[in-house]
Symmetry: C2
Subunit: 364 residues, 2 copies
């Protein structure tokens, strides 16, 4: 496959991420290719399981494109799992039905950490890298493709616990009892994530997002040292321009609204916000340093289309007449949401946002 791609037609997302003028606010949804869509469930049931979709570039491409067929979305996001890196490190990722992800091996000692390889993504995660190029070609310039990875701390929690956790007991005990050990693990993960995201960018990803799903479970000081510092290290090692265009980097720490000022210092282009943060106060706090992504509570999608539209209008008004807003949910869309409600959400963002971008110098 060639890495020469069709010209991008809808670049709202890339413009907004760089705080350039747009005609309307771009919108995408975390987990937009997912279980709430019947067509996704059908592809998945034919394929076998979740990882069968992830490891097959054609199927990953198929489900990545499904929400674009239904909705007027401004971005595609690579369909994959956040735990591909620990799996490539040899931990043996598997899923048990009704349970979260599990690993056959855990990482609990210095020897365990010493034995972990740094991932060479083009070799060890070639199925993801091939999926990126396949999707980018299939998009045919419709919208940009977002690549992603889990953050080092988020990956570390699963590796130490052996799966999901409520209180991150073992990971936090390692952090407090053996900080050097935790730093050694995070260092290997930061190198691996950097390589992984750069491989995705070379393969066709036009923006990348670091999902720091569990950074917000840390104390404020531990967050800076054990999550944010490693994301900053990754950001500084990323390819920031490709094919003559900037490749924006989004950092999303769920429950990280108290730490926006220090997150800006990571050098990223955009901060993802969950719904506990006021868009107006976030914009005042970060000024013109970064763009902001978010931040509707995904549970609003359980309410009526009318209530959804009201909430979209409220968030747009909060952000106001400024550039640099990418509309999104504050976390992934949930499996029980009615697909028509997701459509009402996306349409409302476009419809109501035009007024905030008039006379802003935008030219298509």
């Amino acid at each position: 496959m060639t890495n020469v791609f069709p010209v991008l037609k809808n670049d709202r997302l890339l413009r907004a991420l760089s705080r350039e003028p747009v005609d309307m606010t771009p919108v995408w949804m975390m987990r937009q290719a997912g279980r709430y869509l019947p067509e996704y469930r059908e592809t998945r049931s034919k394929a076998g399981g979740f990882m069968d979709l992830c490891t097959n570039p054609d199927l990953a491409c198929e489900v990545t494109l499904q929400p674009l067929e239904r909705y007027d979305l401004d971005a595609a996001i690579l369909f994959s799992d956040i735990l591909t890196i620990p799996d490539a490190m040899g931990l043996g990722l598997y899923f048990e039905s009704g349970e979260g992800p599990r690993f056959r091996k855990t990482v609990r000692s210095q020897a365990d950490i010493d034995n972990l390889p740094v991932v060479n993504a083009e070799k060890d995660l070639d199925y993801v890298i091939k999926a990126v190029t396949t999707i980018r070609h299939a998009l045919n310039g419709r919208v940009p493709l977002i690549g992603f990875s889990g953050s080092p701390w988020t990956l570390a929690t699963y590796m130490v616990e052996g799966g999901s956790s409520k209180d991150f007991r073992r990971a936090k005990a390692m952090l407090y009892d053996h900080p050097d050990m935790m730093h050694a693990l995070l260092e290997k993960l930061a190198l691996s994530v950097t390589d992984y995201l750069n491989a995705q960018i070379r393969a066709g990803a036009q923006a990348v997002q670091i999902f720091d799903t569990w950074g917000g479970s840390l104390g404020h000081q531990a967050y800076q040292r054990f999550s944010l510092d490693y994301m900053a290290k990754i950001v500084s090692g990323l390819i920031r321009e490709n094919d003559g265009r900037k490749v924006p980097v989004i950092i999303f720490t769920k429950n990280g609204g108290q730490w926006l000022e220090s997150m800006v210092e990571s050098g990223c282009d955009c901060l993802g916000l969950d719904w506990t943060t006021s868009m107006a106060s976030a914009r005042a706090r970060v000024g013109s340093k970064v763009s902001l992504q978010g931040n509707m509570d995904p549970a609003v999608l359980y309410a009526s289309p009318e209530a959804i539209r009201t909430e979209v209008a409220r968030i747009l008004a909060e952000f106001g007449h400024h550039e640099g807003h990418v509309f999104n949910l504050g976390h992934g869309i949930t499996p029980e949401v009615d697909p028509q409600h997701a459509g009402a959400f996306i349409d409302a963002v476009h419809e109501y946002s035009v007024q905030y971008h008039e006379n802003n110098g935008f030219r298509a």
Copy 2:
């Protein structure tokens, strides 16, 4: 039983809640009477189940006092459940082993809400009120007794969902689709909580805490209107002085660190903080308006006593040479914690905090 109680010997908690000088920082732990203690598990297994402890004033008293026998704590907290009010409203609280709390009836329509009575605590929750007086006598002036209730929004989530929830789907759909209905429910709950806490104060509680466990699941605007406003209403209706002494009110919204400024406006005396908030920045933000309670990550108790002591010292240093700090965990102590680690935590608070209270004019 008489409501004339022995003189209070250790009033560090009450002084710190009112930002008065103390000789060392007072400390207690949310859920300090609980499953991590073998003596608690023994009492509970003899009694039958959790609710058999709550509904029997003598057993509730016994387990409330257990942690005081082991540790040099500066407060006792009433042993009870946060869901006593919905149970008294007729919803039928029960517990299934391995599951969270459940209700036989749910509240999902205007008719359901209309049918709910406002609780008359002295009649409908007499077992709690009796437990308060029993405990207060048994304490014999050792330390003050804290009473508590769940917040209206927190109680409402369980009542609408019928139990615990991950995404509060039904409660949030009601909030966004039928805000008037949700307000009617919260109004009845606010009246009930006010009556409940006042009954606890009359029965002997010397301070009260409102546990807003799920306020932090709301968007920042929804939090103000659907959680904080009702807590403010409760605060304004509480008995604030009893037996010649101020009865301080603590508000604790888990995950509420972004909203401290508006929480202060509720009129409470103290804000509880989880561990995601920096003590130093919280103090700067609230100034001298309220005291602060918290905020060690309970997962630190899984680390070694040495690491626990280091973290206690760090938090004390962050708060610095000021009055108005009640040390606590940022959430309840978890069942798997080694009781010796809890002891190391409590001793460290007293040992390390003396230096911050020297020359502050304190006289015992």
